[in-house]
């Protein structure tokens, strides 16, 4: 059987499942879901494609030979960073500054630490540095902030460090000198020396990986890139070769945490950029999809087994940060803003003995041993157990993987906890859910306040396995009018959907410290150079119909926080500068609130950036068949609702039978193969014409 041309495929590898989404030219979607294969992730990768092919009625080769785009979000890099299984790296750095990665700009004690680690004197400590001191070689050399060489580089020191590479048997080299992003000549020469003697060694330079002011963050980023380099190169080659062997018509593209796709050679060079590409793709896909549906301002929430991820999209745009925390280290990595807390279906409920209060998390039972009701050896009550006890989850319907939930075991667990607190079992289960949901509400509010936004003007967007049961509660108190579950049950593979929707893109950046009034000639020159780089990249990749997106990072002279600002079109003249300042002031106040900026102090342009990309294509929205009558519940079961503090007989709907236009009023439950949606008392659930489920949180005003 031959397949019609033009499939696009997204593959997202998660901790538990590998998700594949195939999108046909007409917008039809097909899901392939298999267990992830940690020992060789590529097995699950191709397994999920085969599973989707089978659903369509094709063999794997026929599908791939008709596939023009295969987009992949990999976790291979982040896994190696988290588990410390990356390559053994040697760091070359400026003499006098070997301890920069140990002193961590003083942040070590608090960056990424839990509140307990911050507050408790007896356990407070720094994480180990990204490279132990014995694998740091100091090189006599120094460049100043203007880029002038004030101490020449010692070739002898370089020679000695090459000997250390041999002695210590390292697998990769990171080179990070002070001010290299202004003048990279020393790093370049050091890299040449390394390459001459060790042509096959993976080498990262800081001016290349993280061209940004701040030696600690730049060095950490460079070291992490080097640490995951060798294994990522091998992994990427395996995927690319495997896809070619299976007849892929197009090419494999890799997702970046800045929200675009790059070909294999780019991903090999800067593997750090692929970190968190799956969750980011979900956010970017949401932005595209929301825009097509007419939503401008949304808060994206992805609640899974162990974490809740939150991102905001304002005026249709995602926001970025240039600095992020990874494993308690600061990294310079342009990344779509996604914040996480450790709260999900697997979060463990416990009693704080001193105070006799109920707590939830931050520990999670994860997938193994998992909640008590999974019967895989979990013995601690989790949020999922509470959902089951409350009747929100259906004890008689096995999960997607065929797992049956043990409601009796969950009951026993919760009632034991309840007895210690002097509560009824149902009250205790409801309390667990309310605590976890209030923490999520707090995170959502914090994320929006940090960006100077008011959550009440936003629509909540929810995907991920556990969102359906909880969004009605965590959405309610932030004052959002409604929750959208995009494409209904497909929300459970939303990151794969996001990957399909991404386009090739790559950013080029020039760092500067340009104060107002700007040196317009200099700006013009920098922009010209950036444009040349971008066009050269696009030509080499044969990218068609490219667009160039111009941005700058700006801040007020006396303040520290930078805001990304759109650069005006046209010639760089006085008008251009005035428009730039206006854009900046608008963005700054939008982010930090009115009156927060201090224009009289003047502004600084710290970076100029161009992103070259293929234009995004709007997602195809396929109108669905409308329902011809009111929906019929499949059954009834008792569900405890904290609003009425009682278990009530509640209608249960089988999701796939709900057609476009249908509205069900709460209290009710809608069950899908991969998710369960709780429609709380006073709320209602509607299926729109495109397969989205919309939970209305408030009654009509």
């Amino acid at each position: 059987m031959t397949a019609p041309d033009g499939y696009s495929i997204g593959v997202d590898i998660g901790g538990t499942f590998t998700d594949c989404l195939v999108v046909a030219r007409d917008g039809t979607t097909t899901v392939g879901k298999v267990s992830s294969t940690p020992s060789d992730l590529s097995v699950g990768f191709f397994g999920s494609i085969a599973a989707a092919a089978e659903q369509i009625g094709l063999d794997e080769r026929s599908l791939l030979s008709a596939t023009t785009k295969l987009a992949h979000g990999t976790t291979a890099g982040i896994n190696a960073i988290v588990t410390g299984t990356g390559a053994k790296v040697l760091l070359l750095t400026t003499k006098g500054h070997a301890d920069s990665i140990r002193a961590m700009a003083g942040q070590g004690r608090v960056l990424g630490a839990t509140i307990e680690e911050i507050l408790d004197y007896s356990i407070s400590s720094r994480p180990d540095p990204v490279v132990p001191r014995e694998r740091v070689c100091e090189i006599t050399e120094r460049i100043d902030f203007a880029g002038d060489v004030i101490v020449a580089m010692s070739d002898d020191d370089i020679g000695r460090s090459l000997d250390r590479i041999d002695e210590l048997g390292v697998d990769a080299v990171a080179i990070s000198f002070l001010w290299s992003f202004v003048n990279p000549s020393h790093e370049q020469r050091a890299r040449e020396r390394v390459a001459q003697r060790f042509p096959n060694l993976f080498v990262s330079c800081s001016h290349d990986v993280a061209p940004r002011i701040g030696e600690y963050g730049r060095t950490v980023s460079t070291v992490m890139n080097a640490a995951i380099g060798p294994l990522m190169v091998a992994y990427i080659d395996r995927i690319v070769q495997g896809a070619a062997d299976r007849g892929l018509a197009g090419e494999v593209l890799f997702g970046l945490c800045e929200g675009g796709l790059v070909p294999a050679e780019e991903a090999r060079r800067h593997p750090l950029g692929t970190v968190q590409s799956g969750p980011v793709a979900g956010v970017v896909g949401s932005a595209l999809f929301a825009r097509a549906m007419g939503y401008e301002n949304i808060i994206v929430t992805d609640m899974g087994g162990t974490t809740l991820d939150v991102a905001t999209i304002a005026n249709g745009e995602v926001s970025f940060s240039e600095e992020n925390e990874l494993e308690r280290q600061r990294v310079y990595l342009r990344k779509v803003d996604v914040e996480s807390i450790g709260a999900g279906g697997g979060s463990i409920a416990w009693v704080h003995e001193d105070s006799g209060t109920l707590r939830v998390g931050p520990r999670s039972a994860g997938a193994v041993p998992g909640p008590i009701c999974y019967g895989r050896g979990g013995s601690e009550v989790t949020v999922t157990d509470a959902d089951l006890v409350l009747g929100v989850l259906n004890p008689d319907r096995p999960l997607a993987g065929g797992l049956t939930l043990d409601v009796d075991a969950a009951q026993r667990g919760v009632s034991e906890l309840a007895a210690r607190l002097g509560m009824s079992t149902l009250e205790c289960a409801a309390g667990i859910v309310e605590i976890v949901d209030s923490r999520m509400e707090d995170l959502i509010r914090r994320v929006t306040i940090q960006r100077g936004q008011d959550p009440r003007g936003f629509t909540l967007w929810a995907y991920g396995g556990a969102s359906g049961a909880h969004a009605g509660l965590y959405g309610r108190d932030i004052g959002a009018p409604e929750v959208v579950f995009p494409l209904g049950d497909a929300a459970s593979v939303w990151s794969a959907y996001g990957l399909v929707s991404l386009q090739q893109s790559r950013s080029f950046q020039a760092n500067a410290l340009l104060r107002t009034p700007f040196d317009l000639e200099r700006v013009s020159g920098l922009l010209h150079d950036l444009e040349l780089q971008a066009r050269k990249y696009a030509d080499a990749r044969a990218m068609r119909d490219i667009e160039l997106v111009w941005r700058g990072d700006m801040k007020y002279s006396l303040q520290v926080f930078e805001v990304e600002t759109e650069l005006p079109d046209g010639d760089v003249d006085e008008r251009w500068a005035a428009e730039l300042m206006a854009n900046f002031q608008r963005n700054y106040e939008g982010r930090f609130g009115r009156g927060s900026g201090y224009a009289e102090a003047g502004a600084v342009l710290t970076a100029l950036r161009v992103t070259v990309r293929s234009p995004a294509t709007d997602p195809v929205l396929r109108p669905e068949r409308a329902a011809d009558g009111p929906p019929a519940p499949e059954s009834t079961r008792d569900v405890y609702w904290s609003e009425t503090r009682a278990a009530e007989p509640t209608p249960i709907y089988w999701g796939p039978t709900l057609l476009a236009g249908v509205v069900i009023d709460g209290p009710a439950i809608a069950e899908y193969p991969n998710t369960t949606i709780a429609v709380r008392p006073g709320q209602s659930l509607r299926r729109d014409d495109f397969g989205n489920l919309i939970l209305k949180l408030k009654g009509d005003a």
């Binding site: 002193a103 700009a105 507050l119 400590s125 720094r126 100043d144 306040i449």
Partner: protein, 591 residues
């Protein structure tokens, strides 16, 4: 909408939710201040504090970024605000400011802002915010007036004043602040940021009170304070009853060379409460090291909290089982017009004295003496030319802790400060400096079974003439070891001339003139060791050697570990180590 959320009283889940909400309200205020503040000292250090208080003056909650120093000042100052401006005289939109050290403030540069939260027509709660503003006058730019002999030399004093009303900022006050500052734009920006933060928290509390209903919310707050109290009491009950003493000798006061001072503390542990008594502490001095009473209380609270569960929420309940006795007119409770801008020295002294005392009450949580916060400021000689200011601090190493080494160069000792240090490159863009190195000082951590944390050395080369002001301690008397551990290395400030001549600066120096080409060296003190270093795991000693924390000489002399250098990679020579350590009787080691 009134009272739609169920009452937290007697409901373990609802109580937990309200507790989170209170903390988050303070956290949000802190975020807003940091985002819009101007002083780079504040922003890069994330040093903005925020708290929720009630109309009775009780501390209800504070943000995680709030140091105890700041939280204690917010708590102490709300009383002064209410004294001068009774709640009944307050109007919606009012915002109050103060910095008076004798009534709860810290020193001039730490400005406190309070905004009442109205429920109906009545004031029920307050939000409070605090940062170190860039400059508010006084002897020295940036607020480190190490040479101040009276409070009048430390910047503008603010009694509790109304700084905003429903009509907006009170221009008279803002203009007064601006006129008295070397960096007027920054100070006004900082004050606006503080007010913005207080507004956000106040609005959040208003919404929460509406959501819960006044009575249920108030009851929930009472429960929260009781909860902290009960956890505090159960922690204190675990300490062995008794009377414990500790002391700390301050190197000098920055004015009278050679004179040192002692902070003495007696901690009496009785059942589930403690009395912290500073009787015997030296009298206040005509220098800046005196420590306002709110800061002494904060220090004492921090010291005590090191010996109970550190995660107990910080609110009024924590204070109930702790009694503070601060002799009036002493270093820990100065009277007008004694200067107090250098209070960090006596605060640290008080903390270390209490830790010394309670390490005996709770040996399994013992901590050796710690290195300090070493502050300094560099500025142009004349204010006519290019304006720049590098005001910062470097951290000392902490004392060894039972079961773990002291953390290297970190700020926790300063009332749980989470302050960060700026990276070096941005400093070089702002100031005529080349930072030649920033390195851990080898052998600076006091030897012990659990080694003291490392001190750090930073070398600045000046590209222009400059004046340098310093403020620190632990330069004459290094942090001592405990239970057989040795002292850490004392800190130093040096001026190194191009010809190599070294001039050692006092720990508290005002406006020492440096020439272009000179180097300014800041060395922080290392923490003291805990326990006999001969009992330290030889592999840990080897690791320290590889990490450049100790020299080979120290390995043999201080730890009596033999390294087998002939092996493929260096390894511990177990037999030789045993022999060395067997011979190492205590008397011999000391001899």
């Amino acid at each position: 909408m009134n009272g739609t959320t169920r009452s937290p009283t007697g409901d373990p889940a609802a109580a937990e939710i309200l507790r989170n909400a209170l903390m988050v309200a303070a956290e949000e205020a802190s975020i807003v201040v940091v985002k819009s503040a101007y002083s780079s000292f504040v922003v890069e250090g994330s040093d903005a504090s925020a708290a929720i208080l009630d109309v009775r003056g009780r501390l209800v909650a504070q943000s995680a970024a709030t140091t105890l120093a700041h939280g204690g000042s917010l708590r102490a100052s709300i009383g002064a605000i209410l004294e001068d401006h009774p709640a009944s005289s307050m109007c919606p939109g009012d915002v109050f400011a103060m910095n008076d050290v004798y009534r709860g403030g810290i020193h001039a540069n730490d400005i406190l802002i309070f905004r009442p939260v109205f429920v109906g027509t009545e004031v029920a709660y307050f939000s409070g915010t605090l940062i170190h503003v860039a400059d508010i006058g006084g002897l020295s730019a940036g607020g480190i007036a190490a040479g101040a002999t009276e409070v009048f030399l430390e910047g503008v004093q603010l009694p509790p004043v109304r700084i905003a009303t429903c009509d907006g900022l009170v221009d008279d006050i803002m203009r007064t602040l601006a006129l008295n500052s070397r960096a007027p734009e920054s100070v006004l920006g900082d004050v606006r940021a503080l007010i913005a933060g207080a507004n956000v928290a106040a609005k959040r509390i208003e919404r929460l009170v509406t959501q819960y209903g006044r009575a249920a919310f108030d009851a929930g707050v009472d429960d929260y304070l009781d909860y902290a109290e009960s956890r505090m009491r159960s922690g204190l009950a675990a300490l062995t009853d008794g009377v414990y003493r500790g002391s700390y000798v301050v190197d000098d006061d920055g004015i009278h060379p050679g004179l040192s001072y002692t902070v003495r503390v007696t901690v009496t542990v009785e059942d589930d409460h403690v009395i912290v008594d500073f009787e015997g502490t030296d009298d206040q001095v005509r220098a800046s090291i005196n420590c306002g009473f709110s800061q002494a209380i904060s220090a004492a609270m921090f010291g005590v909290r090191c010996f109970v569960d550190g995660t107990i929420p910080m609110n009024e309940g924590c204070f109930r089982p702790v009694e503070f006795r601060l002799p009036r007119g002493s270093l820990v409770n100065p009277t007008p017009p004694h200067a107090a801008g250098g209070r960090s020295i006596v605060m640290s002294a008080a903390i270390d004295a209490i830790i010394e005392a309670l390490s005996a009450a709770q040996p399994h949580l013992a901590i050796a003496a710690s290195g300090l916060l070493h502050s300094y400021a560099m500025a142009p000689v004349s204010s006519a030319g290019r304006r720049w200011l590098q005001m910062a601090y470097e951290y000392g190493g902490l004392g060894g802790r039972r079961g773990s080494d002291g953390p290297d160069a970190t700020g926790i000792h300063f009332g749980l400060a989470r302050n960060t240090i700026a990276q070096l490159e941005p400093i070089e863009t702002r100031c005529p400096l080349v930072i030649e190195s920033k390195e851990y000082i080898v052998d600076s951590g006091g030897p012990g079974r659990w080694r003291g944390g490392m001190g750090v050395r930073t070398v600045f080369r000046l590209l222009d003439d400059a004046v340098v002001t310093t403020r620190s301690d632990r330069m004459r008397y290094p942090p001592v070891g405990r239970e057989g551990g040795s002292a850490g290395r004392a800190g130093r400030y040096l001026r190194v001339r191009p010809d190599g001549i070294e001039i050692e600066l006092a720990s508290k120096t005002s406006n020492h003139v440096f020439d272009r080409g000179d180097r300014f060296v800041v060395e922080t003190s290392g923490g003291g060791g805990l326990g006999d270093p001969f009992t330290r795991d030889p592999d840990a000693v080897l690791r320290d050697l590889r990490d450049g924390r100790v020299t080979r000489g120290s390995v043999e002399r201080d730890y009596r570990v033999a390294i087998d250098a002939d092996a493929d990679s260096d390894a511990v020579d177990v037999r030789a180590t045993t022999a060395l350590r067997g011979a190492g009787l205590r008397g011999e080691r000391n001899g």
